[in-house]
């Protein structure tokens, strides 16, 4: 081999050697598999320091991506953060480890109403993590006050292509179901069909089906967009430009739970993490950073009043009564798949 060719091989080898994890100073490891940007980095740092554990965080973009990967056999992850209906599915598939977290002392801090998974009513498997609503984020300079889906679609008709909805089968068909006064978990084909028709009727006025709307709403390229409460992060920073509303007709809500996988290689550390997340002073760090709903009653007390009393994040009981959460539909999911394909192709 000429020296030039040899260097072609040596350089990457050195690069690989540098990339290998160095002799870890930490005793153990904990591998989290979470939605992108869905946990405060400070929490991971504190946990790592306190328990002398090297925490790694890998991310996914949807429940289904995570499920497909775990189902195909990927291992090495200790903890996942599925939404409630995905928690139920993973329980049915036997992917979750029993943790008996309801016997831990910190469990008293957790809101019992947040034990929403049907497969886990007593909290023996997963710890409720956080919750939020899915409403509308809007540019307050273009639309001074937005209150409802009806107003959203009327505005869209007068200003075509200036609004966006989520590129999400169940969320967007869910808006159609809500407008028809149906459950977002409707199983009757005719109900789903009617929802499909509503979305199709408004489709010419909708600019895009997408999740990446905040910068476009902020710049005025879009005027309003279907989005989740995570928008509050930006709304609170730019209150005169951005607004977020839970529509009058009602909305969907979501909640994620912290689950330990049956295949977890570091189960003991995973248990420590669950206990750690029950501490009010830790839980509140996350809520302050994420600006979403908390399920830890003690942590709520520690929350700055401005956040705690913001009705867009923690709505009053009258609004909460109008929130619906997705359930697993089993075989009937097919009806939604067909309807969504129609929405996207017509």
């Amino acid at each position: 081999m000429t020296p030039k060719i040899r260097s072609l091989f040596v350089v990457p080898l050195v690069a690989l050697a540098c990339a290998m994890p160095g002799a870890a100073a930490a005793e153990g490891r904990l591998s989290l598999y979470n939605w992108g940007d869905y946990i405060s980095p400070e929490i991971l740092e504190r946990f790592g320091k306190e328990f002398n554990v090297k925490v790694t965080l890998d991310t996914y973009g949807s429940n289904e991506e995570m499920l497909a990967k775990i189902q195909a056999g990927a291992t090495g992850y200790d903890i996942v953060f599925p939404s409630v209906h995905m928690h139920d599915i993973m329980a049915k598939l036997g992917l979750l480890a029993k943790t008996d977290l309801n016997k831990m002392a910190g469990f008293a801090n957790i809101d019992r109403a947040a034990l929403r998974a049907k497969s886990d009513p007593a909290g023996e498997y997963c710890l409720p993590y956080a919750w939020g609503t899915v409403g509308i984020v809007y540019n307050a300079k273009k639309i001074p006050e937005l209150k409802s889906w009806k107003q959203f679609f009327e505005y869209a008709r007068k200003n075509p292509k200036k609004v966006a909805m989520l590129d999400d089968m169940r969320e967007t068909l869910g808006v159609g179901l809500i407008l028809n006064g149906k459950s977002v978990n409707a199983r009757k084909p005719e109900d789903v069909k009617a929802a499909q028709e509503i979305i199709l009727k408004h489709k010419p006025d909708i600019g895009a089906f997408t999740y990446e709307v905040i910068p476009l709403v902020q710049s005025g390229d879009l005027h309003a967009a279907h989005y989740f409460v995570g928008a509050m992060m930006y709304v609170l920073e730019k209150p005169d430009t951005l607004g977020y509303v839970i529509p009058e007709e009602g909305a969907t809500m979501y909640q994620e739970d912290i689950c330990v996988l049956k295949s977890a290689p570091n189960k003991a550390n995973a248990m420590k993490f669950l206990e750690f997340m029950m501490r009010p002073e830790i839980s509140v760090l996350n809520t302050i950073q994420q600006k979403n709903g908390s399920v830890n009653l003690k942590a709520m007390e520690l929350l700055p009043p401005a956040l705690r009393n913001d009705a867009r994040i923690n709505p009053p009981a009258s609004v909460r009564a109008k929130l619906q959460i997705f359930e697993d539909l089993g075989k009937d999911l097919k009806t939604y798949d067909r309807a969504w394909t129609k929405v996207k192709t017509n």
């Binding site: 980095p41 990927a74 999740y211």
Partner: protein, 274 residues
């Protein structure tokens, strides 16, 4: 081509083409100075902090309420991406070139079959190849990590290199090679002294393309990546819903500058030697 006017038109087109290529790069550069801590698309003010933060210097932006510290993760992802792309490019360039040579310079029974097979990995939809590779690796009992990503990338990168090198080989005269072998040169010497210099532009093009594709691959990588082996596209995808931080722009500019300096130095050294 024929006389000055045509070549002037060609030159103008070429310069226009380069300008078009660099319009987005100019915007990436401009927005890398954006002080918006969440999203590069909404301009807020001028700052050098993103460059400072990548270089490990203290910044003002870190004090902002919405700032999420992720520089270390970002740099780890870049390192993973570069390692994967380098190895996958080396291996797939060798494999793709060898196969292209076999098919262009030899007649054998399964030639057509190989040609068809080599194109299929590119055609296989990403998510399908990703999940299938994951199932395959898991059933082999492999732990997921950089090595599985490299292996997975080689599968489809070899196809791209194969096509590019094949276009170079197509219709290329073989008399020089025959002369060399008639003069008693071994196949290796013929390859090294005659064939390789002739097809070098094709190999270089294939390797560049392979490197670019490997650095950008998202869907296949998502499925075959293991714990703590996220690459740059996976990192960016993870923060996409929240918004792309200008830090990514700054990083892209640093990577471009670095690649440019390396290549320019290399080319300069070579031209001096000649």
């Amino acid at each position: 081509m024929n006389g000055p006017p045509a070549s002037r038109w060609l030159g103008a087109w070429g310069v226009g083409f380069l300008a078009l290529l660099y319009v987005p790069i100019a915007l990436i550069f401009a927005y890398s100075f954006n002080s918006n801590v969440v999203n590069m698309m909404a301009w807020e003010g001028f700052t050098l902090d993103w460059y400072r933060s990548i270089l490990g210097l203290p910044t003002q932006l870190a004090k902002s309420d919405n700032y999420v510290q992720s520089t270390a993760t970002l740099l780890a992802a870049v390192r993973n991406s570069v390692v994967v792309a380098t190895f996958a490019t080396l291996v797939s360039t060798a494999i793709g070139t060898a196969t292209a040579l076999a098919i262009a310079r030899h007649r054998f029974r399964l030639r057509r079959l190989y040609q068809g097979l080599l194109v299929l990995p590119m055609v296989m939809p990403d998510i399908v190849l990703g999940i299938a590779l994951l199932i395959f690796f898991v059933s082999l009992g492999l732990d997921l990590g950089l090595h599985t990503i490299i292996a997975g990338h080689c599968v489809f990168l070899s196809s791209y290199v194969f096509v590019v090198v094949s276009t170079r080989l197509a219709g290329m005269a073989t008399d020089l090679e025959e002369a060399s072998s008639d003069l008693g040169a071994s196949p290796w010497v013929t390859f090294r002294r005659v064939t390789l210099p002739q097809i070098a532009p094709g190999i270089a093009g294939g390797a560049l393309l392979a490197f670019i594709i490997s650095m950008d691959d998202l869907v296949i990588t998502y499925f075959i990546a293991g714990v703590d082996s996220a690459t740059l596209p996976l990192f960016i995808y993870g923060i996409l819903r929240r918004g792309i931080k200008p830090e990514i722009n700054a990083l892209a500019m640093l990577l471009l500058t670095f690649s440019f300096l390396v290549a320019a130095t290399g080319l300069w050294l070579r031209s001096r030697r000649q």
